[in-house]
C-alpha cells in the first residue's frame, strides 16, 4: 500500500493527539503510525518509523519543535514536516521554513485546514495558512528596497545639516549634538528639521535607515 500516507504525531497534549488521530484516520489514505509527546521522542520515533509526514508542534517540553526540525530532517530525510502550532508570528513561520518545514498550520484552523494541508504537502507543495501568507508577503515587501536611480537627497544637505543629522542618527540627544558641534540646541533643532524635510523623512528611525543605506554610520 504505497499510497497510504504514514503520519507521526508530535504534540505534548495527549487529548489533542487522540483527537487528531481520530480526525486523520477517518481519511482512507492516511494512517497514524506513531505519537510523540516531546521533541526527543519525536526524533526517536521518526528515526525508527521513517514516516512520510511528521505533524510537529513547536511548543513542547524538552527539545522544542523548531530545534528538533533540522535534526528530524537528518534522521528521517524522506519525511515531510508539517508544523502545527499556536504561533501566528511570521518569524516562527520563517524559522520553520528555513529549518525545512513543508507546511505551517495554525492550531486555531486545524479542524478545517489540516487535511487539506496534509494532502498539499504530500503532493509536494508548501502549505502555509492563508493569513500567514499575507503577513509573510508584507515583510518581504518591507525588505524590498526601492532601487531607484533618483538623485541622492543627502547631497542636497548643507554640511552643517549633514553633521547634525549624522549625530542624530547615531542616537545623540539634541543637547549632545549641540555640545559636540558648539551650537545652541535651538540651532540644532532648526538644522535637524530642515535636513529631515530635505530628505523627506519624518522620524529618527527613518533617518537611521536612510543613513545606513548610505553607509554613514559605519
Amino acid at each position: 500500500m504505497t499510497d497510504v500516507i504514514r503520519v507521526l504525531l508530535a504534540d505534548d497534549h495527549a487529548v489533542l493527539r487522540s483527537g487528531l488521530r481520530l480526525l486523520i484516520e477517518r481519511q482512507p489514505n492516511i494512517e497514524v503510525v506513531g505519537e510523540a509527546g516531546d521533541g526527543n521522542e519525536a526524533l526517536a520515533q521518526a528515526k525508527a518509523l521513517q514516516p512520510d509526514l511528521v505533524l510537529l508542534d513547536i511548543n513542547m517540553p524538552g527539545l522544542d519543535g523548531l530545534a528538533a526540525l533540522p535534526r528530524l530532517r537528518q534522521e528521517s530525510p524522506h519525511s515531510r514536516v508539517l508544523v502545527l502550532t499556536m504561533h501566528d508570528d511570521v518569524s516562527y513561520l520563517q524559522e520553520a521554513l528555513r529549518a525545512g518545514a513543508s507546511g505551517y498550520v495554525l492550531k486555531r484552523a486545524v479542524d478545517n485546514e489540516l487535511l487539506m494541508a496534509i494532502q498539499a504537502v504530500m503532493r509536494g507543495e508548501t502549505y502555509v495558512h492563508s493569513a500567514m501568507t499575507q503577513k509573510l508577503l508584507q515583510t518581504m515587501d518591507a525588505d524590498k528596497s526601492p532601487a531607484r536611480n533618483e538623485p541622492d537627497p543627502w547631497d542636497a544637505l548643507s554640511e552643517r545639516e549633514r553633521d547634525v543629522l549624522r549625530l542624530v542618527a547615531l542616537g545623540y540627544t539634541n543637547q549632545e549634538v549641540a555640545d559636540a558641534l558648539f551650537l545652541s540646541v535651538k540651532t540644532v533643532e532648526t538644522y535637524r528639521s530642515r535636513g529631515m524635510e530635505k530628505l523627506g523623512l519624518q522620524t529618527r528611525a527613518q533617518l537611521v535607515k536612510s543613513a545606513l543605506k548610505r553607509g554613514l554610520l559605519d
Binding site: D11, D12, H13, V15, L16, G19, L20, L22, L23, R26, N59, D64, L66, M86, H87, D88, D89, S91, Y92, E95, K107, R108, V110, D111, N112, L170, G171, T173, N174, Q175, E189, Q202, T203, R204, A205, Q206, V208, K209, L212, L217
Partner: protein, 487 residues
C-alpha cells in the same frame, strides 16, 4: 544719613580689602604698623636731636663769642689786632675738631658800626648788611640767609668797646639730622623685611591647615567621603580639623547607610519586577500550552463529532466551533499581552516588531522601527526590560502625546544599547514635572534603566514632541552569564 554714607564707604573699602587673601591682609597690617612706627620714631628723633644739637651749637657759639670778646679786650681794641683776632677765631673754631661751622664773626663798635669782620667763603657780606638781625639777644637769634639758616649769638666786649656777633651755620645740624634720618629709614626697611618674612611664615603656618581644610571640603563636596585632614596644631584650626574629620566620618556613615538602603530597595524592585515577569511568563505559558491546547482539542473533537453526528446538529456544532475558536483567539491574545513567547524564543527585535505592528493597528499611530548594530541576543532579563520599557514608552505616546508619528530606534554601539522613542505629539516640559504621579510610565522606565546602571534622558518641549533616550551599558561576558537566569 551720615552713618549710611560712612558704612557705604566702609563697604567699598571692605569690598576691596576683604577680597585679599589672609596672607595679604596680615602682610599689609605688618607693613603698615612698621612704616607707621618708623615714621613716628623718625619724627620724634628728629625733633629731639635737632633741639639738642641747636642748644649745643648755641652753647658753643656763646663760648666762641666770649673767647673772641676776651681776646679783643686783651688787645684793647687795636684795629689791626682786632682784625687778626676775629679772623683767627673764625678759622680756629671752624675746624673739624670743633665740629662747628662759623659763617661769620663781626665785631661791632659801640654805635653798632662794624669795626672788624670775617666771613666764610660762601657768605655774601652785602646780603648780611642789608638784612641786619633785629632784636638779637645774647642767647641767640635764628634767621634765614640765601645760603642757609644762621644762628647768631653775641657777647659784650668788656669796657664798652662793642659786641662780638658770631654767625653759626645750621648746615652741620642739618647734615647730622639727615644722617640720622637715613639710618632710621634703613633700619625701618630692614625691619620691614624681617617683619614681612616673619609674617609670611606666620601666615603660612596659619593658612596651610586652612588650605588643607578647603581642599578636603571640596573633595567631600565631590563625594570623596573618605577624605580626612591632618591635625596640624593643637589650636582652634586643629579643633576645626578634628570636627571636620568627625563630620566627614558621619557623612560617610550616612552615605553607606543610604547606599545600603538603596541597594536593598533596588534588590526589592528587581525582585518585584522579576516575580511579576515570572508570574506573567508562567500564566502565559499555561494559557498557551494548556488552555489553548485543550481548546484546540475541542476544535478537533467537534470536527470529529461533526463527521458522525446527524446533519441536524451541524449548525449547532458550527456555533460551538465558532465560540471555541473565538475563545482560542482571545486566550492567545491574552497570553501574548502577558508575555510574548517570541521574546524568549526569537528575541527582542522580533517581539518588538510584532508589538509595534499591533500598536499601530490599535492606536492608528504610525511607528517607524529601526534596529542598528544589535546582532546577538541579549541577556534574558535585559531583553525583557528593554521590551517592557519600549512598551511603556509607546503606551505613554498613545496616552498623552496625541501623536501621528512615532519612532523606535534600537542601536547598539560601543557596548551601549540605546533605545530612542520619539513622537511628534504635544510634548511637555520635562523639568516641570519629570516623574510626577501622572507619569508612572516614565518613572517605571527610569527605575528599570537604573537597575541596569543606565540612564534615561528626556528631551521635550510643549508642542515639539518628545524623545526618550534609554541608554544601558551592556554587561561584559562574565557578568552576562551571571545575569542569565536558568529558565
Amino acid at each position: 544719613m551720615e552713618r549710611i554714607r560712612q558704612s557705604a564707604l566702609f563697604q567699598r573699602f571692605w569690598d576691596f580689602a576683604g577680597a585679599a587673601s589672609i596672607r595679604v591682609k596680615v602682610l599689609g597690617i605688618v607693613l603698615g604698623v612698621i612704616v607707621l612706627l618708623g615714621t613716628f620714631i623718625m619724627l620724634q628723633m628728629r625733633t629731639a636731636v635737632y633741639q639738642t644739637l641747636t642748644a649745643e651749637m648755641e652753647h658753643q657759639g656763646v663760648a666762641i663769642a666770649r673767647a673772641a670778646a676776651g681776646e679783643i679786650d686783651q688787645v684793647s681794641g687795636e684795629p689791626e689786632l682786632v682784625d687778626h683776632v676775629v679772623r683767627r677765631n673764625r678759622l680756629h673754631y671752624s675746624s673739624a675738631e670743633h665740629n662747628t661751622l662759623i659763617d661769620y664773626i663781626i665785631f661791632d663798635g659801640p654805635n653798632n658800626a662794624p669795626i672788624s669782620e670775617s666771613y666764610a667763603d660762601y657768605v655774601d657780606p652785602a646780603t648780611l648788611h642789608t638784612t641786619p638781625p633785629v632784636g638779637a639777644t645774647l642767647i641767640g637769634l635764628r634767621y634765614s640767609l640765601p645760603w642757609g639758616d644762621v644762628t647768631e649769638v653775641r657777647a659784650d666786649v668788656p669796657g664798652g668797646l662793642g659786641i662780638v656777633r658770631v654767625g653759626l651755620s645750621d648746615a652741620n645740624v642739618q647734615a647730622n639730622l639727615t644722617t640720622m634720618t637715613l639710618q632710621i629709614v634703613s633700619i625701618t626697611l630692614v625691619m620691614i623685611g624681617v617683619g614681612l618674612a616673619a609674617a609670611y611664615f606666620l601666615t603660612w603656618i596659619l593658612t596651610r591647615p586652612i588650605f588643607d581644610l578647603v581642599n578636603a571640603t571640596e573633595a567631600v563636596g565631590r563625594g570623596e567621603l573618605g577624605r580626612q585632614v591632618p591635625r596640624w596644631a593643637n589650636d582652634e584650626i586643629g579643633d576645626l580639623a578634628v570636627s571636620f574629620n568627625a563630620m566627614t566620618r558621619a557623612l560617610a556613615q550616612a552615605d553607606r547607610e543610604r547606599a545600603e538602603r538603596e541597594a536593598l530597595r533596588e534588590k526589592y524592585i528587581r525582585g518585584v519586577i522579576q516575580a511579576q515577569e515570572d508570574e506573567r511568563k508562567r500564566i502565559a505559558r499555561e494559557l498557551h500550552d494548556s488552555t489553548s491546547q485543550s481548546l484546540t482539542s475541542l476544535l478537533v473533537g467537534l470536527r470529529n463529532l461533526g463527521e458522525v453526528a446527524p446533519d441536524t446538529l451541524d449548525s449547532q456544532i458550527e456555533d460551538i466551533r465558532r465560540v471555541v475558536s473565538g475563545t482560542l483567539d482571545e486566550v492567545h491574545a491574552l497570553a501574548w499581552q502577558l508575555r510574548p513567547s517570541v521574546l524568549d524564543d526569537l528575541g527582542l527585535v522580533v517581539a518588538l516588531g510584532r508589538y509595534i505592528a499591533d500598536f499601530e493597528r490599535r492606536y492608528s499611530i504610525q511607528v517607524d522601527f529601526t534596529v542598528h548594530g544589535l546582532d546577538d541576543r541579549l541577556p534574558v532579563t535585559l531583553e525583557t526590560s528593554l521590551y517592557r520599557m519600549t512598551q511603556e514608552g509607546l503606551t505613554n505616546v498613545a496616552r498623552h502625546a496625541q501623536a501621528h508619528h512615532a519612532s523606535v530606534l534600537i542601536d547598539q554601539r560601543n557596548n551601549i544599547i540605546r533605545i530612542i522613542i520619539e513622537d511628534d505629539g504635544v510634548g511637555f516640559n520635562p523639568d516641570a514635572h519629570p516623574f510626577g504621579e501622572k507619569n508612572l510610565g516614565l518613572q517605571g522606565i527610569r527605575e528599570r534603566t537604573q537597575l541596569f546602571g543606565g540612564k534615561l534622558t528626556i528631551e521635550s518641549q510643549p508642542g515639539q514632541g518628545t524623545s526618550l533616550f534609554i541608554e544601558i551599558p551592556l554587561p561584559n561576558t562574565a557578568a552576562r552569564t551571571e545575569l542569565e537566569r536558568p529558565s
